[in-house]
Symmetry: C2
Subunit: 348 residues, 2 copies
């Protein structure tokens, strides 16, 4: 079969690799219908996060179950399933507590020795603990929304949960990538009263508005901090969603959060010095979040997508074939695309 | 009048200072019955936190209202009152939200230009927003418990709140000082099922048991981390109370907290490098806390003291006169006393 591999900085290839196949009785093989490229894949693309030559990549996909191991009970051949960005056994104390990202039997698609999501098929370990079925009769128009539940929508939701967003919250979102925009949608869904989206990209601002942003701030750095303080009676936002993970974005988050407020953090930390605890201490700033256990959130978010209450689909603004996957990386790296779908079953 | 002053490392004096007096119509003057020495005063005593020569010190006291400014409505001459460790106006957005430590009209006893708590009397600014009256007929045996509400009991409670302690929680407390012990009592009061106190000092362990600790861990560092993991099925504690504020104590806190757990932090950060966000991220560790808004907690904790539901009084294990205040500092610095009461009205 063919799959995406990475060979160092900005060297994304599509290669012939061994067919995805059952190894354990708890595995299934999923034929990928849709995969996508994540902002966090760009850290590897840019050479900041190291990968071995030829390592697989991609951790978001949905598809059709093609083959089922003998111990698998929850899915059958032909089912359409969404894969969260880690696999997990579904039975350990962490999985039972809804923290599947800490499952000791779990792993991350594209880690060494595993299939990546950006390929024709994927061997899914621990299928019963991992995959979520979607109704056979769901309209094709919902597929992008389903795909977003494999990572970005669940991650945006995790940021909102980590920041303690609830009815009446004043929320500010740092980062106008797909996760930040999904954070806007999640905050709206959780009842936030005011949602300030930050960014200077018009197309993204439009999506933020569609998703429920009540205000937009195009300024950056100190100017953004001043602007948001002005907008909030000098106080700042009670809940800040940190969806970037750099020293600069954390500086903004700490600058715009209200004393006693919470920063929900889901941006993978990159080139980050330690957090200045002394600055948080005097102002009683709390932080919550981390790598999102999207598997825990999938059932409730899927129900809302199916019921038409949320549609994160608009975060995808371009589709490429597997052959053209490198073009998708390039477009996201250059910010000419927000988030790119990869379709392995169409010709390049 | 006479009050405690500090002149650099381990140089605590008692000196004649100007009488506490009304300056603003919102002030009162309180004649101090009981004050005490805080673990955080020791940072100044040890020269780690800088103070000006002759600066006042002490931020925990209770006493009798002696003089009342013209705008004060909530207390009268003769009332017995508890002062939280900061003053605050009680009317701003932060005070109304229960975050009096962020009140812009507030301040800290012993900061430059203000009276410290370890003296014969204190000018209390913003008296209506600051002081809490206690019943005239409360028995003298409760005075130490009342005094603890000026800081350590409210701070221990804040740690427990920051760590999200509730019914059924598995709690571990880092720090066996008065705040840590009050954290044990606060966790018990909030319904924790298991409370692991850490420390190797027998007298403190006895108080921890009295306050509700179900387990004691005398090991330190890596050995303590291993021991607590063993005791918790390999998982660690869901709620950790960080009551020290050093790199070492944070290392322990991060080592013993369960993935997905919360660290409630109230130890004033000292000689702390930045928090390693990358280590928190992958494990979904949340942190909450900071400088405790003890004024917000005073009414509910006072009600529980009066009803006999909690008694933090045992954290005090020595009483000195004002003349002997330096001996109190020395005893706490050498850990021969846990927490020392200072009584300005008795002879040295």
């Amino acid at each position: 079969m063919r799959a995406t591999t990475i060979y160092g900085t900005r060297d994304i290839r599509v290669e012939e690799v061994p067919d995805a196949a059952i190894k354990e009785a708890t595995d299934v093989v999923v034929r990928v219908e849709l995969a996508c490229i994540c902002g966090s894949d760009l850290w590897a693309y840019r050479g900041v996060a190291k990968r071995a030559d030829g390592q697989r990549i991609g951790h978001e996909f949905l598809g059709i179950v093609e083959e089922v191991g003998g111990d698998v009970k929850s899915v059958q051949v032909g089912d359409r399933v969404i894969a969260p960005f880690v696999w997990s056994d579904g039975t350990c104390a962490y999985c039972q507590a809804g923290l599947q990202t800490s499952c000791r039997a779990g792993g991350f698609w594209g880690s060494k020795g595993s299939d990546g999501g950006q390929g024709e098929a994927v061997r899914v370990p621990q299928a019963d603990g991992t995959l979520v079925r979607v109704p056979a009769d769901a309209p094709a128009s919902l597929l992008p929304a389903f795909l977003s539940l494999s990572d970005v929508m669940g991650t945006g939701h995790h940021a909102a949960m980590g920041a303690g967003v609830g009815p009446g919250s004043t929320v500010a979102v740092v980062g106008d990538g797909a996760v930040g925009l999904c954070g806007v949608l999640a905050a709206k869904r959780l009842g936030a009263e005011r949602i300030i989206a930050m960014g200077r990209h018009e197309d993204r601002a439009k999506i933020a508005s569609l998703f429920g942003a009540t205000d937009q701030v195009a300024e950056r750095g100190e100017a953004a901090i001043e602007r948001i303080k002005e907008m909030t009676g000098g106080l700042g936002a009670s809940a800040v969603l940190e969806c970037v993970g750099t020293e600069q974005s954390w500086g903004t988050a700490m600058g715009i959060v209200r004393d006693g407020g919470r920063i929900g953090y889901v941006g993978v930390p990159h080139e980050m010095p330690g957090l200045p605890l002394g600055k948080l201490f005097g102002r009683n700033i709390a932080i919550g979040g981390g790598v999102a256990p999207v598997r825990a959130y999938l059932p409730e978010l899927l129900a809302d997508v199916l019921a038409g209450r949320i549609d994160p689909g608009p975060v995808f603004d371009r589709t490429v074939s597997l052959d053209d996957v490198a073009l998708g990386y390039q477009a996201m790296d250059e910010r000419t695309a927000l988030k790119v779908i990869v379709q392995p079953q169409i010709a390049g």
